[in-house]
């Protein structure tokens, strides 16, 4: 067989493929679904990891509140606020995990889009509540420092705490977590487009 004869067979194979319309976007679609599912699992793991900190701190926070009867009223308020913040964080994370667990790639994609959007909104709302609690804690903290220390110490500590909160807020805005969520939402929307086309 000459190379030119091979070319004829090659063209024949090409024609067969043209006619068959057999090749489709199954792999790409499955790959996108798989990638989205992996990202959702990653988010669930992240939530579990975040859940660890308040769960560990919670008993300590409770015992501090109960076993310190002689402290200043402001201290009691501060500790109560911390305790409430921990409770809110735990509830938020558990709810987030429940929402993420509902995401199942084998189910209808619109249901998954709904769940992941709900998770995104809940997470943002949780963030706002926690920011408010942190702000209350900051005010209380500065109040306590102002009552017990000099003005310079008050300004230094206050500026330091504000800077840290500002940094955390900025970092969380650009976090990998948010990027992962955006990427999942984008994937789901594209999967939906592809499935609608079929």
């Amino acid at each position: 067989m000459e190379l030119e004869e091979l070319k004829v067979s090659w063209t024949e194979l090409d024609d067969k493929l043209k006619k068959s319309e057999a090749l489709n976007e199954v792999i790409v679609l499955e790959m996108m679904k798989n990638k989205a599912q992996v990202s959702v699992s990653k988010l669930i793991n992240m939530e579990y990891m975040v859940l660890l900190a308040p769960i560990i701190m919670f008993p300590r926070s409770v015992s501090k509140l109960i076993n310190s009867p002689d402290v200043h009223l402001l201290d009691v308020v501060m500790r109560s606020v911390i305790l409430v913040t921990f409770i809110i964080i735990i509830i938020c994370i558990i709810y987030n995990i429940i929402l993420l667990k509902r995401v199942d790639i084998s189910k209808k994609i619109s249901v998954n889009i709904y769940n992941i959007n709900k998770y995104n909104i809940t997470r943002k709302r949780g963030g706002i509540i926690i920011t408010v609690m942190l702000f209350i804690m900051l005010v209380l903290f500065l109040w306590i420092v102002a009552l017990g220390g000099s003005l310079i110490a008050f300004i230094i500590v206050g500026s330091f705490v504000i800077s840290i909160i500002a940094f955390i807020y900025w970092a969380s805005k650009r976090s990998i977590h948010q990027k992962t969520i955006d990427s999942i939402i984008e994937s789901f929307n594209e999967i939906k487009d592809l499935e609608d086309k079929d």
Partner: protein
């Protein structure tokens, strides 16, 4: 980005299929190779900077993937991408003519680089394009093609 990728795959699916078909072995089906090629294209897509044409990039990735996969002694476990439907959707061996099967038999007896060069020649690529895809010089491409031509003639006379 994903839409653009799907579009590229759709436009080049026949090319990918043909390359995969040539590199199939009894242990390695077209479906397996096709999946690996698409996965590697997907992985490399964000880094693809249009330094060469899309078609050249696809040829390079497809050939490198097929060569790497066929060289592996032990097949790695497949990714979790379920491709149950894929094997059914690709052309079955039985549906191919004797000429195509003979072509497959002959090309498969060539050495890896010769196979690559012949495959691109069959795709109507110029010597310059073949050189660009394979990384060989134009002279080298011409020599390899000449040698492959002789080999094929010899093998078909057997």
């Amino acid at each position: 980005m994903k839409k653009a990728f799907v579009e590229i795959i759709k436009q080049n699916e026949r090319v990918i299929y043909k390359i995969c078909y040539i590199y199939t072995t009894p242990e390695l089906s077209v479906a397996d190779l096709y999946q690996d090629v698409v996965c590697n294209l997907w992985a490399g897509f964000p880094k693809f900077r249009q330094e060469c044409s899309v078609s050249t990039w696809i040829y390079r990735v497809a050939m490198n993937t097929c060569i790497t996969e066929t060289r592996k002694d032990i097949r790695r476990p497949k990714s979790s991408v379920p491709v149950a439907n894929l094997a059914e959707s690709l052309l079955s061996q039985e549906s191919l003519s004797d000429d195509i099967r003979e072509m497959y038999r002959l090309i498969n007896r060539l050495r890896t680089v010769e196979k690559m060069v012949v495959l691109l020649y069959l795709e109507d690529k110029s010597y310059k394009e073949i050189a660009e895809i394979t990384g060989l010089t134009v002279c080298n491409v011409a020599t390899k093609l000449k040698r492959s031509r002789e080999k094929l003639k010899e093998m078909s006379n057997l």
